[in-house]
């Protein structure tokens, strides 16, 4: 009996997870743009690196939320915590400091 209940719970969980996964993935792929002709690789901007590295763990913060000095400290921590390569972290820091908030 317990085994049957467990199977039922797992089944419903898998169905629900699959449902959200399928809907989300389906909508996302449907909205995706067709692949363009392969362009030569370009150097990523600080804004692009910010979008690449930061959003995978948390909602993006606005540059104005911290001062330039605070961003320097925070990016030092994030570089270590998220293992962001140094040059990428520096580009992200420049991007954040450009529009950093005042004191």
């Amino acid at each position: 009996m317990k085994t049957a209940t467990k199977r039922q719970t797992v089944l419903w969980s898998v169905v629900a997870l699959t449902g959200v996964f399928a809907v989300g993935l389906g909508v996302t792929l449907a909205q995706a743009q067709p692949p363009e002709a392969k362009a030569p690789p370009k150097k990523l901007t600080g804004a692009e690196l910010y979008a690449i590295n930061c959003n995978r763990c948390h909602p993006e913060r606005y540059p104005t939320e911290f001062t330039a000095s605070q961003w320097k400290t925070i990016m030092l921590e994030m570089r270590i915590r998220a293992n962001i390569p140094a040059k990428q972290a520096n580009e992200i820091l420049k991007y954040l400091q450009e529009d950093a908030g005042g004191n």
């Binding site: 969980s13 989300g24 990523l44 959003n55």
Partner: protein, 459 residues
């Protein structure tokens, strides 16, 4: 002869002088009044002109003095301007710093309302978790995180009826240190971390803060892993190409887990007499009750993580990781862990991530046991539907399934479904319902299904 001519010449000269003498006075006396007046007028004009010239000269002198004074003032202003410009340049090069210029506080705070099945609903301050960052210079950072929570106190009094009093009373505040580590950036590819460190066993321990975790509580199997440990670590990220791809690594040595009761038995008893796992994942911090510095084990534990992050474009990426730890937990008995983690993002709106955790614990009474579990969590932001509905666009659906087997006769699986409303980018209102299924010998003591609403703020 000669004598006769000399007087003659003398006389001739005298006569000429006489005649001239008569003639000259007659010439002087010939200047008329008109001539004199004209001459006088000329002299007066010349005198007037001379006075005018003197006045002009005096005026010119005054103008020259004024100009010289103005020139001096201008030079002074120019000098001050240069000095000010130099001061500004100096100030820009060395901006004024307050005592707290490189001190920053970040973190998160949570407030919950929860109702577990069969119990009263209640509000609770779930957590206030500040992280203090101090940047000594470009290469040195000290960071420390704390968890401050409020909970009911346990009464110690007695009642007249039965001399027992078990009702909660009063409140107590608990402050626990989540981590406190000193980071030194050796170069672009290596950072030394020392102290009480968050351990990179999987990704949850380092990315599980309240406002990062989209569900109010932690996945069940992460309880099988130590979240932090005292030791030292070398870690870093190495870029691969120019697309943002990177390989990350971490290698560490820590004191490792220990035994609650000092034996290598699989279980022990808590203060209420309940059977609980004997493995102590959170202790062994280096300083014993006696004050002596000593590891509770004969050897430290070693561990690490290797990760691969592959972004296809901003907000669309894959991350895979494998991590593990091994060392003595009691005497020569080993405790080891192996964790696989994975995360996929497709656009800013869709995420799926999960971990598989397996641990091995050698015990003196049950042999080798394997507490293990896994979880998978998926979420979708409705902003991806491109609906013209502001509130809907601020919603995110989230689901999680997690499973844990403690290898001591109990298993739990849980399904959680919820929704997040992003009031701002860092202020989240989360509502979830969790269906628990607990089985085994100690199932009665495990959590039950519950409804949770949480307000979470990241700062």
């Amino acid at each position: 002869m000669f004598t006769m001519k000399k007087p003659t010449r003398i006389l001739s000269t005298a006569a000429a002088c006489y005649i001239l003498g008569l003639a000259l006075p007659q010439t002087a006396a010939a200047v008329s009044d008109d001539d004199f007046n004209a001459l006088k007028s000329t002299v007066e004009k010349m005198s007037q002109q001379m006075q005018d010239f003197q006045k002009t000269h005096q005026s010119d002198q005054q103008q020259i003095q004024d100009l010289q004074q103005k020139l001096g003032e201008t030079q002074s202003l120019a000098t001050n301007a240069v000095e000010k410009a130099d001061a500004v340049a100096l100030a820009q090069a060395n901006p004024p710093r307050s005592a707290l210029h490189n001190f920053t506080m970040v973190g998160d705070a949570e407030v919950q309302y929860g109702q577990a099945k069969g119990q009263f609903g209640t509000f609770s301050l779930a957590d206030f978790a500040p992280i203090f960052l101090f940047r000594a210079n470009d290469n040195i950072l000290f960071e420390a995180g704390f968890d401050i929570t409020l909970q009911n106190g346990q009464a110690t009094g007695t009642t007249a009826q039965d001399n027992s009093y078990t009702h909660d009373s009063g409140s107590s505040t608990s402050v626990s240190m989540s981590f406190a580590q000193l980071d030194y950036l050796i170069n672009d590819y290596a950072t030394s971390v020392s102290g009480y460190m968050l351990l990179p066993l999987g990704t949850y321990s380092e990315r599980g803060a309240g406002w990062l975790n989209k569900i109010p509580d932690s996945p069940l199997p992460v309880d099988f892993l130590p979240g932090a440990g005292v030791g030292t670590q070398l870690r870093g990220g190495v870029p691969v190409g120019e697309s943002g791809q990177s390989i990350s690594y971490a290698a560490y040595v820590v004191n490792g887990p220990s035994s609650t009761d000092g034996t290598a038995n699989a279980t022990t008893f808590d203060g209420d007499g309940n059977t609980v796992p004997n493995l102590d994942l959170g202790g062994n911090v280096g300083i014993q009750n006696s004050g002596n510095n000593a590891n509770l084990n004969s050897q430290p534990s070693f561990g690490g993580r290797l990760g691969w992050f592959f972004p296809l474009k901003p907000h669309t990426d894959v991350e895979l990781g494998v991590s593990g730890q091994s060392g003595h937990w009691s005497g020569s008995y080993l405790w080891s862990a192996l964790v696989f983690d994975a995360a996929i993002h497709i656009t800013p709106n869709f995420e799926i991530k999960g971990e598989y955790i397996n641990t091995w614990q050698e015990t003196s009474d049950l042999g080798s046991i394997q507490p293990n579990g896994w979880y998978v969590q998926t979420s979708y932001k409705l902003a991806g539907l491109d609906l013209d509905a502001p509130i809907v666009n601020d919603l995110e659906l989230v689901e999680r399934y997690d499973y844990a087997n403690n290898a001591l006769g109990s298993t739990s699986d849980r399904f959680t479904t919820g929704v997040i409303y992003y009031i701002t980018n860092t202020l989240l209102l989360e509502g979830d319902y969790e269906w628990y299924k607990n089985r085994g010998l100690n199932a009665a003591g495990l959590p039950v299904s519950q409804f949770i609403v949480q307000l979470s703020y990241g700062f």
